[in-house]
Symmetry: D2
């Protein structure tokens, strides 16, 4: 397997741009989603389980899962854009692999192939159980948590770079 490519951001303020844009996505506050991590070409969004967001069997609705992983993919693309350029998701595909059950969903979007006009991203959504109070700290805690993660959905998204369109940057 080839190692994951390391991306160089073109905008040193990439994290602030992503965080500012995320803060303007009002649906995230409505759902209770938060922006966990922003790295060049990779973004994580977390969503705690809420019964108000479920489908008929008590799992999170696929559209809710889509909301966080679509934004994770779009912001992964935005993190590599030059200053002034924005992004527009033109299409995505989501495969649902397991019921979206668990205390917390984490959506991880990352750039597969950056491009001048078209950037392709991949996203995964993991369900994690509730953290116990006596969880270990730091690296050990992360390792334990990753073992308990269950892949519930996987996305491929195609994102277009938008230039010179007032109001559509970021």
């Amino acid at each position: 397997m080839k190692p994951m490519p390391q991306f160089e951001p073109q905008d040193p303020q990439y994290e602030r741009r992503v965080r500012d844009s995320f803060a303007r996505q009002r649906v995230m506050e409505t759902l209770g989603a938060t922006l966990l991590r922003v790295a060049p070409g990779e973004v994580e969004i977390a969503l705690p389980f809420r019964a108000e967001l479920t489908q008929q069997h008590g799992y999170l609705h696929a559209g809710v899962v889509t909301t966080i992983v679509d934004s994770a993919c779009g912001y992964a693309a935005l993190s590599l854009m030059p200053p002034g350029a924005g992004v527009l998701t033109i299409e995505f595909k989501l495969n649902l692999l397991a019921p979206a059950a668990g205390a917390l969903m984490i959506a991880r979007g990352r750039v597969t192939k950056p491009g001048r006009t078209i950037t392709v991203c991949a996203g995964d959504v993991f369900a994690t159980p509730a953290e116990s109070d006596d969880a270990p700290d730091g690296a050990q805690r992360q390792e334990k948590q990753e073992k308990q993660e269950k892949l519930v959905a996987t996305m491929v998204a195609t994102v277009m770079t938008i230039r010179d369109r007032p109001g559509v940057s970021d």
Copy 2:
């Protein structure tokens, strides 16, 4: 162009099944979506615009659009299932064609090809402007409204039939 196929429901109670299941999707109440129409192999869901559901440019988030059209597709499939069988969406693709702006979104899901195990559905989301007070009635009104509809997204969804799995029917 071949005429759209007419489907025969296998369950005479198909509409009640769809409406009962929709009523259990708590996310629909949270978003403010309602079930407009249930026909054999075709379902419509409406969602009035709400600023709490928007992305950074003030349009409805693609995940919100996905929520209503995914359910419209899944229920279109469910409307053709025999009594006792349920459905599970295994994957979908969404193309975003225009910003999800407008007073009301209408998602229309319909069965492209029913199958014993796999049913393929197509869905469209139309944005309609607010209705004016002096709108004409009945058929004329509907005709006028359809002219003003704008296609904002189109989905293809693959749905699996679930049998003999307690709690997963409908």
Copy 3:
């Protein structure tokens, strides 16, 4: 159902452009595919069954089916492009609905939504049985043939307009 939109070609030579480009797709001659029909926003490609193109069960391989419907979609998009602009398919999704068995496959691509940069197309592949010798002529023949057609696959494709890139037009 809304009527299918009628498209105005921007290039009066649209049919010649499509036919010239198709003639340069050497894979089409290798497979035995021919360009049936070119209309503004709609293109049909035919492929007679050949045992050399089959998968392990004796049906046409899904990749062969993809070849003709991908080109039908791309050329449907090209038929609406202004002179000098070319097209590039950036992604597609194919659902396989029935085995690709039958004497002749016909792929029909049509534009769902034209755009300055991104055009979305839909494609279908129909299998038809061999024509009998005493088939009626003209419209009656076409009607009979359409009744016998079986939908074997359906595609959604996203196509990008290419401008000012020498060698990539058409």
Copy 4:
């Protein structure tokens, strides 16, 4: 990043089953494709460049690229099936990332999530330049080659398990 899962084959004869089935795909011989590698949940297929398989710009047609990566994904799924069960690809999505130019295409399919009824696979197609005569041997050669590989396309495929259907196993 989570480590790639290791899969346990349910059929000790998994490699022979995959190779026998591949040998029956007559399209592979027609295109000139060969089965490079079969491991549990992972399959590689190679295709040398041939001008007879190109589109209008002299690159391999996207449908040809699809043919090898679709089979690589399907056989990755088949390698994990129990004896007697076969596979059927029900849908796939392909993103085209770069022109399919180069002396050799290698398609790598691998299982993302195995399941009793539905298995999801991911596939990549890499283009490699012609090997020079003074290429180093063994591991060094492989390392050099991987550095020169260019990702030209990426697929997600949904595969269904087929049981008890005579003639459709493998």
